[in-house]
């Protein structure tokens, strides 16, 4: 789960990391009022779950409140990588002397939270890693010991030469680790971590992604989910216990299992179509889940054909077939539906589907080809 910059800064502040003050505005009036209160130059920053906000024009320097009003008015409602800006953060502009990068993520190879720091902040860290890998220092945190003081210092030593800055930065590094762990994060970064002309170290931008598996035990973090910042269909899918990702194509996919769902999307593409979504309904034959899945898929006006790809394993095919039939009775569906059903009790399942008037297949390739053809209509 992504959280906004201002929320990540709240998490940082809880851990003691120095972040500038800031407030959220949802209208240009509010932005102007906040800037007036600060009474200094401010930044107006789009709050969306997307990188590249700056390049998209979503981050602006404002000399005064009227400029803040103007920029906020432009940014609010702006589309950034398909997401509409609903909120801006208004925060005093800082004098920047240097910009560094400090990030933590879960490293699969070392099986541990891993720091990446660079004195070259303010740019995409992947680019730094690709072009000047010697400008990055990495450290995996042994989960048995946590981040040790000398390790925090070792990272800070890579960023600065001045002992006073090193001391502040090593504190920030340790606090960032605490924030990472206590937020149940899978990724967090400060980019840039700045120094000011009077020698202060501050986090002026913040990113954090939460491990969805942590939410059950972190109600405070779970409460940070911004439903306005994600498509309604994904909210609905999550609430129904489905994994769903909206895409741009016109073949709606409904599959049991994440790997099979991806392979199905790939096969749609292979046969010249474009998948409209990723959707994993899991191992259940429960008609309610199928109903939710169909409602979500059909809420996408692009969808021209719906493709079920179900592998009956522990769940028997006849159960799954009954679930699908039952679900499609409950709602009206316009696009044509084709169903592939195979595995345990396959014949029985196919019979149930065909009796209910569905095009039923046993081969994944056949059903995908058919769905692509129908979508091209």
């Amino acid at each position: 789960m992504d959280i906004h910059e201002y929320q990540a800064k709240e998490r940082f502040a809880l851990a003691g990391i120095p972040v500038p003050p800031g407030r959220i505005a949802t209208t240009a009036d509010e932005a102007e009022a906040i800037a007036n209160e600060y009474g200094c130059a401010v930044m107006v920053k789009a709050q969306v779950h997307s990188g590249g906000r700056g390049k998209a024009g979503g981050v602006k320097y404002c000399n005064d409140a009227s400029e803040a009003r103007e920029h906020a008015s432009n940014i609010l409602g702006m589309d950034i990588n398909g997401l509409t800006v609903e909120k801006v953060l208004v925060t005093p502009a800082e004098d920047i002397e240097t910009e560094a990068y400090v990030g933590v993520l879960i490293d699969r190879k070392n099986q541990a939270a891993t720091f990446m720091v660079s004195p070259d902040g303010g740019m995409d860290i992947e680019e730094v890693a690709a072009s000047t890998p010697d400008r990055i220092r990495k450290l995996s945190v042994d989960p048995r010991y946590g981040l040790l003081p000398h390790q925090a210092l070792w990272l800070a030593n890579f960023l600065y030469d001045d002992p006073a800055l090193i001391k502040q930065a090593s504190k920030v590094v340790a606090q960032l680790y605490d924030s990472f762990v206590n937020s149940g994060a899978s990724m967090t970064e400060i980019n840039p971590l700045i120094t000011t002309p009077d020698g202060e170290v501050k986090a002026i931008d913040a990113k954090m992604t939460i491990d969805g598996n942590e939410l059950f035990r972190r109600p405070d973090v779970a409460g940070m989910r911004d439903l306005a910042a994600e498509p309604a269909s994904e909210t609905k899918a999550r609430e129904a216990g489905l994994s769903y990702v909206k895409l741009d194509g016109n073949v709606g996919c409904c599959v049991n299992g994440a790997g099979l769902a991806m392979a199905t999307m790939d096969l749609v593409k292979y046969y010249g179509g474009e998948p409209a979504n990723f959707l994993d309904i899991g191992g259940s034959s429960n008609p309610d889940k199928v109903v939710s899945a169909l409602e979500i898929i059909t809420s996408d006006p692009n969808v021209k054909a719906i493709l079920f790809n179900i592998f009956g394993g522990i769940t028997r095919c006849d159960d799954v077939a009954n679930g699908i039939v039952e679900a499609t009775k409950r709602i009206d569906i316009e696009p044509p539906i084709v169903i592939r059903l195979t595995g345990t009790n396959e014949d029985l399942g196919l019979q149930i589907l065909e009796e209910a008037g569905f095009s039923a297949y046993t081969s994944m390739d056949d059903v995908v080809e058919k769905a692509v053809e129908l979508a091209k209509g």
Binding site: S186, F216, D266, F278, I314
Partner: protein, 294 residues
């Protein structure tokens, strides 16, 4: 032969009294797995009844279960909030393999659990995996028994139903399996492709291996290099997620392209560069395997 589990596998089921635990215990017993104990704290002394009336004793704790039944393998069906505790308990109990089926375990919990298992030399499979099945010998987890048959192919996969798909196709043409292993879709897993490839290479009955990967991470790339450097047996590969957008989690917590890293393209290239035949569609796997065995 087979890898990781066989006729000597003596299984304890953690969370045996739960909905999933009890259902799959029945399925495993039906298949012939030696389920020797169950564990549910507070239900020690009760009995689990198998599908054919066999009884399995339930214990309060893993140490008792292992001490009293000689179990050497555990399978975890405990809900996510308690799953890593159950895994640590299993690692500490003396079994040599812990199969963690549970989906939704916090990744930092698993970082600790993997370190703990590493300290003790215990293998964890998973979490968020379907388990493994050595046809004709033992089934640990949730893989459907109907689709497998004995034979010379090793199957290792990050996915569940996609594996069933591949295994079903192999079985349909008479290509049986030594062991089918689902290593799980989480970012931090206890047993990776290389562990399985190494075991298949060492298993005299395995003639060829099917390796099914997906987007996210670099496990497949490292496995490909391993195959090139260390394997004499042919490997056929498939990668799911060519059409997955970057930055979005595709069901599995681990199935996510980070920036430009972990794409299907890069993994398929790594396979090709290291002598692994790549199936473009799941339906091509069988043909490629038949070619390698021809």
């Amino acid at each position: 032969m087979s890898i990781f589990i066989d006729n000597d596998t003596r299984l304890v089921v953690q969370g045996i009294t739960g909905r999933d635990g009890s259902f799959h215990t029945g399925q495993m017993m039906e298949y012939g797995t030696q389920v020797v104990a169950g564990v549910t704290p507070g239900k020690g002394g009760q009995i689990f009844e198998g599908p054919n009336g066999e009884t399995v004793p339930i214990f309060n704790a893993m140490d008792e279960a292992v001490a009293q039944t000689g179990a050497n393998t555990s399978v975890v069906y405990v809900p996510p909030a308690f799953a890593s505790d159950a895994i640590l308990e299993a690692v500490d109990s003396g079994v040599s393999l812990v199969v963690a089926i549970t989906e939704g375990v916090p990744v930092l919990d698993m970082a600790r659990a993997h370190a703990f298992a590493g300290d003790r030399g215990v293998r964890i499979l998973g979490p968020n995996c379907p388990g493994l099945l050595s046809p004709g010998k033992s089934k640990v987890g949730i893989l459907p028994a109907q689709i497998v048959t004995e034979g010379p192919i090793g199957v290792v996969s990050r996915s569940g139903t996609l594996t069933y798909e591949a295994v079903f196709q192999l079985t349909s043409v008479g290509l049986g399996q030594t062991t089918c292993v689902g290593i799980g879709g989480d970012p931090l897993i206890g047993t990776n492709f290389i562990d399985c490839l190494e075991a298949f290479e060492a298993d005299p009955e395995t003639a060829a291996v099917v390796m099914i990967g997906e987007i996210g991470g670099t496990d497949e790339q490292e496995a490909a290099a391993y195959v090139q450097a260390n394997m004499s047996k042919p490997v056929v590969g498939f990668i799911a997620g060519q059409t997955a957008p970057p930055g979005r989690q595709m069901g599995h917590a681990g199935a996510i392209i980070s920036g430009s890293a972990g794409t299907a393209e890069e993994k398929m290239k790594a396979f090709q560069d290291n002598g692994i035949a790549v199936a473009q569609r799941p339906a091509d796997i069988v043909g490629l395997i038949q070619d390698t065995l021809a």
